[in-house]
């Protein structure tokens, strides 16, 4: 059975999926911005 992933793990997967397209620093910034926007 597939492991139930935490949101943190889902974000890690998202980062890995875009690793060739977006540099690590920019990706970290976009993800942080997105997390804060999700609070609204």
């Amino acid at each position: 059975m597939e492991e139930k992933k935490t949101v943190e793990m889902l974000f890690d997967d998202l980062k890995k999926a875009h690793v060739e397209e977006i540099d690590e620093e920019t990706m970290e910034i976009i993800i942080d911005e997105m997390i804060l926007s999700m609070l609204f």
Binding site: E2, E3, K4, K5, T6, V7, E8, M9, L10, F11, D13, L14, A17, E28, I29, I30, D32, E33, M34, I35, L36, S37, M38, L39, F40
Partner: protein, 388 residues
């Protein structure tokens, strides 16, 4: 070649920057605070603009060719509808009658029993405990969650790219500085607005004061650190916007213990790193003005919603640049002559000595928040009369 728009932009930015430093610019800067007002004024649909932020430019171009301004408070597009759609949710806001309204029943998914977890690691708490409650689809932890998160990411990225473009276009093509580069908050307001609600935090302050204090402290540090990573280069004339919500609803003794220390903490972190902070002081801060003496030295700009601005500037003008003065109720229901009388009094009383920015007492959300003719007349008047 240095274009006229570039020159205009630089002049306006310098005007704000000198005011932020509590110095005297060439004229009193005029700040326009709105969300959907320009959109409605130009006959655009709020719903379309939320889907495509680039449409704001059309609204800005028309509005600011008719109404003089020195700068925009922000782009007015903080709530990203498309991001929430990916999670089958609207977040804490909804679009009703063309206006973005706070919908408190859509928030507050944190219980008292969650404090320990939040205090231990606020970011992990937000990601792994708060978000799965707020967005049910993220609680599955499977391919459905991954797909929703990916869709939300693409929506966010699209919105981000368009917002960056919109900001550059507004500044480069129209010569209008967009002052707010990012919106920040700190512990007590984050707990109230996003996690526990007003009733929740007031109860917590009385019953679980230590939990509230610890949570406020770790949230202030965590969110400020994230914000400074995102907006990592302070720029003259641009601000970190911090709306203040909970403070004045607390008794003075509670304000001193549960709000002021975190407000000071966040101001110290930003100003020490040379950021300019713009506080939007919701409600009436008159009974709290003595506390401003503890504010750090630095570029702090405060927009006051209520109170006698002349008295406010007299009492706190040495600690921060003061803004406000024009009631949107008068812009909406008064005559041009009445509005200009008010603007003249505000300039006469608040402009001397510098450190003052003319703006409205509230954000103009809808077209009903101000008659076009009144706003245009007032801004024309202040632009001329506000020369130093």
């Amino acid at each position: 070649m240095y274009s006229l728009k570039e020159e205009l932009y630089t002049q306006r930015l310098n005007r704000f920057n000198l005011a932020f430093k509590r110095q005297i610019p060439d004229r009193v800067p005029i700040l326009f605070m709105s969300e959907m007002w320009p959109v409605h004024h130009c006959g655009l649909s709020s719903s379309d603009v939320l889907k495509n932020p680039l449409l704001y430019f059309e609204a800005f171009e028309k509005t600011f060719s008719e109404i003089y301004i020195d700068g925009l408070y922000s782009l007015g597009n903080l709530w990203i509808e498309s991001l929430f759609k990916a999670f089958n949710n609207t977040g804490s806001y909804v679009l009703t009658d063309g206006v973005i309204n706070y919908e408190k029943r859509n928030s507050y998914y944190m219980d008292v029993s969650d404090y320990d977890s939040l205090i231990k690691d606020p970011l992990k708490f937000i990601l792994n405990e708060f978000f799965p409650k707020k967005f049910e689809i993220l609680s599955y932890g499977d391919a459905r969650s991954a797909q929703a998160l990916n869709q939300a990411f693409e929506a966010y990225r699209d919105h981000r790219q368009k917002s960056i473009h919109l900001s550059k276009q507004t500044e480069n093509v129209l010569g209008v500085p967009v002052l707010g580069r990012t919106v920040a908050s700190f512990g007590p307001d984050i707990l109230q607005e996003f996690f526990r609600g007003f009733h929740g935090v007031v109860t917590d302050i009385n019953r679980y004061p230590q939990l509230f204090l610890k949570a406020s402290s770790v949230l202030t540090s965590c969110i400020t650190e994230m914000k400074m990573k995102i907006y990592n280069t302070p720029e003259d004339g641009h601000c970190v916007m911090i709306p203040l919500h909970l403070g004045t609803y607390l008794k003075p003794k509670d304000f001193e213990t549960f709000y002021l220390p975190f407000l000071i903490q966040v101001l110290e972190i930003y100003t020490r790193a040379d950021y300019t902070v713009c506080l939007f002081l919701e409600n009436d801060w008159t009974p709290y003005l003595d506390y401003f003496e503890a504010f750090p030295k630095g570029k702090i700009f405060g927009i006051f919603e209520y109170g006698n601005l002349y008295e406010i500037k007299k009492r706190v003008g040495d600690y921060l640049c003061v803004g406000g003065g024009m009631p949107i109720s008068q812009l909406a229901y008064g005559t041009e002559a009445q509005c200009i009388d008010t603007a003249k009094r505000v300039i006469d009383e608040c402009a001397p000595g510098g450190g003052f920015i003319f703006t409205t007492d509230k954000l103009m959300l809808s077209l009903e928040d101000g008659r076009f003719e009144n706003i245009r007349a007032v801004h024309e008047f202040v632009h001329e009369y506000g020369k130093y």
